[in-house]
Symmetry: C2
Subunit: 227 residues, 2 copies
DNA sequence: ATTCTATGCATTATCGATAATGCTTGCTAC
DNA sequence: GTAGCAAGCATTATCGATAATGCATAGAAT
């Protein structure tokens, strides 16, 4: 969002990002209890920034805290990937609808994000690809110029989910990246209907194989997912 | 959510709720700068819980913070009411779709929430009505049993919005309450399609008169709103 | 054996104080 | 008069220490 702009300074944010990566990449497995003071010591900070990071991650559903008892990494992170599908689909559909008219003609930022995604896909770095993909989708949501929408979307924690998904699927990056092209074009053409449709569908496109199976029991209208 | 169950203990939560009411009811007008230490002194706590409350409210979009500079009440709370309409509509539509099959037959909790709403509407207490209405809608979102959905919905800060809406509209409470009946019935009947439709539409039903005007410039598919 | 109760312990929640930051104002140089 | 710089100030960000809480365990009573 402001990634390169401001140096992302606070310790709390650094701690948060550290934990996100540790958890998303499986170095801290689900169920692990996290103690504020322990993490603080480990990172050389005081309890305060760690506590703040815990709160932020709990809001994303990555941790769960019980007051006066403790915090641990949530077990169900995988179910979340599945749950998120219809929600993301709905939200990004709205985003497409609202963003399309504003994009007509000037999708510079979005196209830049798309190009970055293609570029990074060629490099084979799945983590970097996750970043690029997240940035692409966030650009769309931001283009809708709707604070509520952005907030709801952020609450889903797409960054983390995308990282986790990329880590557990083996879809070739080029294919994944290429699948964004029609979305980009629909937005650039400025057609709200088509943008909504394509985005809602696209978001439901890839899901790690293992998860695809469980999916069908559940929703019934949207299809598979990643992005 | 757990309102009566656990006593909602932490100071941070109390501070948060205090601020929500002050802001929602206009006793702290938009634009007001809030200083952590000042609020702390005013409430007889230390800076820490206040800081935590600030963060939570910033996440809801009620405050905006700039690092090392300060925090103030967001100006645009009113625009948010408008922005939230298509987002809420989409989210609650999904909620209805997912919740309906689970509710078939046993909508006890939801019906209880509905009855509470009717009851409180008769009393004329608009603040209490806002609570009841929020509880009704939250029940539906919870019934969908989808963590991501609940998180996204919570991120919208419906409680606050409903309080603010009720404060600035003059729709008779009985009418507002009654309008939930068909939603309830659709859910009890267990039909996902109909529940989705009705909810998405219902959510877009009431908006304070002053705001209705601005609305039409903006979205184009969903209609007016409160709930 | 089972339930109740008291006590200790692990952990968070809160506190008061200090460090760090960014804004602003006033000065200086041109 | 204006641009650049420096010092002071308001405010947050962080720290280290203490208070409060809930859980678990062990013992007593039945």
């Amino acid at each position: 969002m402001r990634s390169a702009r401001l140096p992302r300074v606070t310790l709390a944010e650094q701690v948060r990002d550290f934990l996100v990566l540790e958890i998303a990449q499986g170095r801290i497995p689900p169920g692990t209890p996290l103690r504020e003071l322990e993490i603080a010591e480990q990172l050389g900070t005081s309890q305060t920034p760690v506590r703040e990071a815990f709160r932020a991650l709990a809001a994303l559903g990555l941790l769960e805290s019980r007051i006066h008892v403790g915090t641990r990494v949530r077990e169900v992170a995988e179910q979340d990937l599945v749950d998120a599908v219809p929600v993301r689909s709905a939200l990004e559909g709205v985003a497409g609808r609202l963003a399309a008219p504003r994009m007509k003609g000037e999708g510079q930022e979005l196209r830049a994000a798309f190009d970055a995604m293609l570029h990074v896909a060629a490099s084979g770095d799945r983590l970097a690809y996750a970043d690029a993909s997240t940035q692409f989708h966030r650009s769309i949501v931001q283009a809708a110029r709707n604070e509520s929408l952005l907030r709801a979307w952020n609450a889903l924690g797409i960054e983390v989910m995308t990282i986790m998904t990329m880590a557990s699927t083996d879809v070739p990056l080029e294919v994944a990246a290429e699948s964004h092209r029609e979305v980009l074009e629909a937005l650039e053409s400025g057609d709200p209907e088509q943008a909504e449709q394509l985005l809602a569908h696209h978001v439901a496109e890839y899901l790690p194989g293992r998860l695809q199976v469980e999916r069908h029991a559940d929703d019934g209208r949207t299809e598979p997912a990643t992005a």
